[in-house]
């Protein structure tokens, strides 16, 4: 009982319930949903694995987005940055038909992530230093970013034939799980480490809740805001690797398209308020997986691609309503009525 109470009031409760409901729905209505099998070349295969695989890049994006939103900002350029990162990695490796890379793949990957960071730094400068509103500041890169990616690929879709490039989104021979899952896990671990071993989480929250008071407490507000955008850029850079490896090409117009919206949604589903302040990394991760599950479910149920957004919107509205303040209040009232707080002083009062 005590444990249950703790769990229902924990921040992860609603996101987990939402995901669980979806999974149960799937398990019942989608054939072979829970089925996982080992393929001949020693890989795990199944819908669940597929969902994890496909949600990786969104998970990574939502990590960065969580921090940005916690400072009561927003970064709508991540989709475009994904495209830039994809363009960088593909141009570096090159589209030679014989599958020989023009530059080592590691270098290409570093360059792509680096490009992401540079984009993040640009956003960070605009928002933190020049105090431009976050939506407006990141809108610049959102619109210009795809153009930059086009320039890099010279308007072409570069297709990479270099085999190891496909390992990023696929499976490295000898591994049993897709590489994306490891990349996402590594990023999540990095963030968990930052949260546990540094005070960045405290500062970000503090800045998001009350920037003036944070400044009065000695926090370098400008630096904190700058860093979160830079980190968001880094995440977008890593996502770009996965997205481009998935189609083995850099498609400046479509890579990471609308992903910023999904990332923002994932953060919101995870329980972080768009007004900033308290944030929930775990919630965002679950939120990202939820969104991917939703998409996969829709496809599995035969919903066509053009109807997908409508169904998704309905599901999202439902989830947001459940998490709304009003619903919380009703829920809290209900809880207060059914679970009396313990009152050691009670008796003393009656005597007095």
């Amino acid at each position: 009982m005590e444990k249950l109470k703790q769990f229902t009031s924990s921040s992860l409760f609603l996101p987990i319930v939402a995901l669980a409901v979806l999974l149960i729905f799937n398990a019942v209505f989608v054939d072979g949903f829970l089925h996982i099998q080992l393929t001949e070349d020693g890989r795990l295969y199944g819908r669940l694995i597929d969902i994890l695989n496909r949600s990786s890049s969104l998970v990574i994006l939502s990590l960065g987005m969580t921090f940005v939103i916690a400072t009561s900002g927003i970064d709508i350029s991540v989709g475009a940055v994904v495209a830039i990162s994809a363009a960088v990695v593909c141009t570096f490796i090159g589209g030679r038909g014989d599958g020989i890379p023009e530059h080592p793949m590691v270098l290409a990957m570093l360059a792509a992530v680096g490009a992401g960071v540079v984009c993040g730094i640009w956003n960070g400068l605009l928002v933190a230093k020049f105090k431009i509103q976050a939506v407006v500041a990141t809108l610049i890169l959102m619109t210009a970013g795809r153009g930059i990616a086009q320039l890099m690929t010279e308007g072409q879709i570069i297709t990479v034939y270099y085999k190891p490039f496909s390992y990023i989104s696929g499976t490295i021979p000898g591994n049993i799980l897709p590489t994306t899952i490891f990349i996402a896990a590594a990023m999540v671990l990095l963030v968990v480490f930052l949260m546990k071993k540094t005070s960045i989480g405290l500062f970000v929250q503090s800045v998001g809740i009350n920037p003036t008071a944070s400044r009065f407490s000695g926090i370098n507000v400008t630096l904190v805001i700058f860093l979160v955008y830079a980190f968001s850029g880094l995440c977008a850079g890593v996502s770009g690797l996965i997205e481009s490896s998935l189609i083995r090409a850099a498609d400046a117009n479509n890579a990471g398209l609308n992903m910023e919206m999904d990332a923002i949604l994932a953060v919101a589903l995870g329980g972080t308020l768009l007004s900033g302040g308290k944030f929930y990394i775990g919630g965002s991760v679950i939120g990202a997986i939820t969104i991917q599950t939703l998409t996969t479910t829709m496809y599995a149920l035969g919903v066509s691609a053009d109807q997908l957004p409508v169904v998704k919107a309905i599901a999202v509205i439902a989830i947001c309503l459940i998490q709304s303040k009003r619903c919380q209040e009703i829920f809290d009232k209900w809880k207060a009525r059914h679970m009396q707080p313990d009152n050691p002083e009670e008796k003393a009062v009656n005597k007095a």
Partner: protein, 502 residues
């Protein structure tokens, strides 16, 4: 006996982890000024908020004019004739002063808001309180005291039968307080029932007819003012015997500053906020900045702490010339600053008490030298004990603490950084009698034992005279006098404030 306006019976209010009110009775008569008294966290504000529908109650009944009423929202309460000024001023900082005063009841002409009338009436209303400001400017142009006056102006303008003032005078000076009292007395004559909450005993005795005392959410009793001597009131509030309470008044021997200079600021100023100011602070010295609101006290403190940068003059710390451009630069010199506006520049409302306390320390250590959780807990617990902060747990959100306890957390935040110069801007605002004298004593003890320098800024002359070894008097954003040792007295300060160029 005058007729009863309001009766609250057996009111219960439970928050997670605390029982804020248990079986509290309260009666308010027409034409009466009734004070609610109690320590920080006793439940005064909660009682008021239950009455005005901010919080739902968990038990009890409210009778207005003998009829059972349950205002569920503040709007319903207003419609029932209850007008309130809350402890935390709740105005919109990006609306103009006039808009704030008339929000929700704007004067209309042909269905549109009549701006001219609105601005005119707002100015008139403030005039009655002797506040002369531009009512078409947004609220954030003005300091807390003015904001408080605006909130009061709004509350007294609506035709109500019950007026509730929760610590309305906490940031007002003597004159403004008297203006407010005149208005309150007028309203009383018109038969309004007034609930007045304050930690200033003198004001309560001057103004009020009856006192209801709360302690730990319980009713101690309701008394006529003239039948309850001050010491007895304090004893009832803190729950101690009379003899214990008499110690409160005892003064701590003032500290003796050493010869060694810690900080020297010569002719510092900042365009637009401070004209000219000199300070020299020795180790172990308690200096007071006296002056009216807007005289430059807070501005000086903010310059010393690097909130703003000085545009002329020089600051030397420990004999070295310093450029204090941002708070961190000041913190590195072991300077700490408790700001006066607790809500906007003090608390981080959605963080816990623990996080709020360690925040400045952590900022100083940098984000990569994370203070281990265990140590945080220890620091927090020490502070809670030292300052006697009333919390249900150290993880309680600071927004859920009573006003006075929030103030204590902010002081704790800075004490934890072990500063050498502690700047306290209105540190005792909204703090109860017992703790107030504790804080004054603490300032002196810190100076004596640790050789800490303290700058004490307060609108309460009495407390400055009691604690400071040197007083700097400011007027019109410049220093006009410096008083030391025997010269320190309210009269001398008043004279310096009133006197010509000196």
């Amino acid at each position: 006996m005058a007729n009863v306006l309001l009766e609250m019976r057996q009111i219960d209010k439970i928050f997670p982890g605390v029982r804020a009110l248990s079986k509290v009775d309260f009666t308010l008569r027409a034409g009466e000024i009734h004070s609610l008294m109690g320590e920080n966290g006793a439940g005064k504000s909660t009682l008021v908020k239950v009455l005005t529908g901010v919080y739902g109650r968990d038990g009890g009944t409210i009778l207005l004019d003998g009829k059972e009423t349950t205002p569920r929202t503040t709007k319903e309460a207003q419609e029932c004739g209850i007008s309130t000024v809350y402890q935390e001023v709740n105005l919109c900082s990006n609306l103009t002063v006039a808009e704030n005063i008339f929000i929700g009841r704007q004067p209309k002409k042909h269905g549109f808001i009549d701006w001219t009338t609105m601005n005119k009436r707002a100015a008139e209303l403030l005039q009655r309180l002797s506040v002369r400001i531009d009512v078409t400017k947004t609220l954030d142009h003005y300091p807390v005291a003015v904001q408080q006056m605006i909130a009061i102006a709004r509350a007294v303008d609506v035709s109500a039968r019950i007026l509730i003032l929760d610590e309305p005078t906490s940031s007002l000076d003597e004159q403004e307080t008297q203006k407010l009292f005149t208005i309150i007395r007028q309203l009383k004559k018109q038969g309004m029932g007034i609930i007045f909450i304050s930690h200033f005993l003198d004001q309560v005795y001057e103004l009020c007819d009856r006192i209801t005392v709360l302690r730990n959410g319980k009713l101690i009793g309701a008394y006529d003012v003239d039948k309850l001597p001050k010491f007895e009131l304090i004893a009832k509030m803190v729950g101690k015997s009379l003899s214990d309470v008499q110690d409160f008044e005892k003064r701590e021997e003032k500290s003796q500053p050493s010869e060694e200079m810690f900080l020297e600021a010569s002719h510092i100023g900042c365009t637009g906020s401070l004209v000219d100011m000199d300070v020299a602070i020795h180790k172990g010295e308690v200096i007071g900045f006296a002056g009216l609101l807007g005289s430059g006290r807070t501005e000086t403190a903010e310059l010393l702490f690097g909130i703003h940068e000085i545009t002329h003059g020089a600051i030397t710390v420990n004999g070295k010339k310093m450029h204090i451009k941002e708070p961190m630069a000041a913190m590195k010199q072991k300077i700490a600053f408790c700001p006066e506006d607790r809500k906007s520049s003090g608390i981080i409302e959605d963080l816990s008490v623990r996080e709020n306390i360690i925040l400045a320390m952590q900022a100083k250590d940098g984000m990569f030298r994370h203070i281990p959780y265990k140590e945080q807990v220890k620091i927090t617990d020490d502070c809670i004990k030292l300052l006697n902060i009333k919390v249900s747990s150290r993880e309680q959100l600071i927004r859920n603490l009573s006003g006075g306890n929030q103030q204590k957390v902010i002081i704790a935040r800075w004490l934890a950084t072990q500063p050498e110069l502690l700047i306290l801007d209105e540190p005792t605002r909204g703090i109860d009698v017992g703790t107030k004298s504790e804080i004054q004593k603490m300032a002196i003890t810190l100076a004596k034992k640790r050789g800490m320098c303290v700058i004490f800024i307060s609108s309460e002359m009495d407390e400055m005279v009691r604690t400071c070894t040197k007083l700097i008097v400011l007027r019109d954003r410049r220093k006009v006098a410096e008083l030391e040792n025997e010269d320190i007295s309210s009269e001398n300060v008043m004279r310096a404030i009133a006197g010509g160029e000196g």
